[in-house]
């Protein structure tokens, strides 16, 4: 959030209230999720959210290494967020940097809240998030995909976590910042939310917001998470619904 003015006076919101990509202030970019796309992983999900392309894979519960990290009472949810070197315009140096370490930490914490970790003592549940193409909002995309992958792995969970960011551009609070909006905007608020319990499990903010603008942005992000949650559920339903006719049309299972 540099708050840097846009080059040659381009506006992020035009006189009709439309954003650079034609969206309204409270409009999400198109979101597609597919569950169970990888063969090796115990669970997986692939997500496309605007230009973002994110893969999430879950391995485990499996024996926790190194041993001293084991918890005899519960599983450890370890998330590894990584951006591919080719996912951004200027090549990113491969390997974990400080930003991705922080994202891995807060994503692990958000997911730990929904997994019944006490069912799998001494184990590790490893969640790998690979950002293949990045265009703002990758931590939210990663968390959204990771919860679907955990469910796909059959890991008992309280609920899915849905995640979305709100932000501020041209002094207006908007939903789901795009790349230019992220670069030239005034604030960003990534939120991870559990609709069923009205709980916030991930929250960050940077930039400049009045208390009222924050409240508006938080509510906007929460409402969007409720929509994203439906897309997540739909992805799982599509994977796990029996195709009609396989056991006889409309056959009932006793």
């Amino acid at each position: 959030m540099g708050g840097t003015p846009l080059p040659d006076g381009i506006k992020l919101i035009d006189e009709n209230g439309k954003r650079l990509d034609g969206r309204r202030p409270d409009e999400l970019r198109p979101l597609k999720i597919e569950a169970g796309v990888l063969k090796r992983a115990n669970g997986s999900a692939y997500l496309e959210w605007g230009p973002n392309k994110v893969m999430a894979a879950v391995y485990g519960p499996r024996e926790c290494h190194p041993r001293h990290m084991q918890d005899p009472t519960k599983a450890l949810v370890q998330c590894h967020y990584n951006m591919a070197s080719f996912s951004v315009d200027d090549r990113k140096r491969p390997g974990p940097d400080r930003r991705s370490q922080e994202i891995s930490k807060i994503t692990s914490e958000a997911l730990t809240h929904v997994v019944f970790t006490e069912f799998f003592p001494k184990t590790s549940i490893d969640v790998y998030i690979e950002v293949l193409q990045a265009s703002a909002g990758t931590r939210c995309a990663g968390l959204t995909a990771a919860s679907v992958a955990l469910a796909d792995a059959g890991i008992p969970m309280r609920d899915l976590v849905a995640s979305c960011a709100a932000g501020k551009i041209d002094d207006t609070v908007v939903l789901d910042l795009g790349k230019e909006e992220d670069n030239f905007g005034q604030a960003d608020i990534p939120v991870g939310y559990i609709p069923r319990n009205d709980e916030i499990v991930l929250l960050q903010m940077d930039g400049d917001l009045t208390a009222d603008q924050f409240k508006t942005g938080l509510n906007m992000a929460i409402e969007a998470c409720k929509k994203i949650y439906e897309v997540q559920r739909d992805a799982l339903k599509r994977k796990y619904t029996l195709p009609a006719g396989r056991n006889g049309e409309g056959a009932e299972v006793n």
Binding site: P72, K105, I106, A110, I194, E199, I200, D206, A211
Partner: protein, 256 residues
């Protein structure tokens, strides 16, 4: 792990007290610990401060060096924030390269300084695209009794306010005070059960379900925020911590 047994016992004790409206050290829920700030503690640094927040003790040193600007900000200085959480300060810390915890502490403090526009970075430009001042803010935990986020933020802001740009030494003209234009202050609260506690001690931190740091400026506007821990906050609890941060932040700001 013996740690989790101890944590369970502590948790019982702490929650029992909380249900009676008390904290282990007798503070109110919205009461931060006593704060002392001492600037210019280290003479070899361009700016420094040592801060006691209750029994948490941190030293921050600011060093300035001439270097190259980033290509996308050719006329601005560079800010680098680092946190050293070493075994000196607590048995909870291990030696070695920065782990996720110290990276998070450093990045949350950094975000407050950066997004709160604490330092006028354009005044740290010597020659656009060629030479700018690189500002290193190093946060050292000396004694750890919880809430390094706020102790570190307070010490960093005090150190920045005391810092002088060593222009003469680098043959770049006369020395001048570091241009600090805003003082963003972070206030951290934890949630234990249904209770929200400001400025947690170590014991409160290890039994807490979740943590929320909110950084505000002198106008009461928000510049940074970070939730941590595997618990959750309800939306109305987040807004309450925001209000607490604005109120307590103003108090702290007047002391540095």
């Amino acid at each position: 792990m013996a740690k989790s047994v101890m944590a369970d016992l502590k948790r019982d004790h702490i929650t029992k007290l909380l249900s009676k409206g008390m904290r282990i050290d007798g503070r109110k829920f919205d009461e931060p610990r006593p704060l002392t700030v001492e600037k210019d503690f280290v003479q070899s640094a361009e700016g420094s401060a040592r801060v006691h927040l209750g029994d948490t003790y941190v030293v921050v040193g600011v060093k300035l060096m001439v270097g190259q600007p980033f290509a996308d900000t050719p006329n601005k200085g560079v800010l680098t924030t680092n946190a050293e959480l070493k075994p000196l300060a607590s048995e909870a810390f291990e030696s070695g390269p920065p782990d996720q915890r110290s990276i998070e502490v450093a990045r949350v403090i950094d975000r407050g300084i950066r997004e709160g526009k604490a330092v006028d970075m354009e005044k740290l430009c010597i020659e656009p695209e060629k030479e700018v001042w690189i500002m290193f803010v190093d946060v050292h935990a000396i004694d750890y009794d919880g809430n390094l986020f706020d102790a570190g933020n307070i010490a960093a802001m005090a150190a920045l306010k005391s810092a002088v740009v060593p222009a003469k030494r680098a043959n770049k003209g006369e020395d001048y005070p570091l241009p600090v234009s805003h003082v963003p202050i972070s206030v951290t609260a934890v949630k234990i059960g249904e209770h929200i506690l400001v400025d947690p001690t170590y014991d409160e931190e290890i039994v807490a379900d979740a943590r929320l740091t909110v950084t505000t400026n002198e106008k009461g506007d928000l510049c940074a925020m970070q939730k941590g821990g595997s618990g959750s906050f309800r939306p109305e609890e987040v807004l309450r911590v925001v209000e607490l941060s604005r109120k307590i932040g103003a108090d702290i700001r007047s002391k540095i």
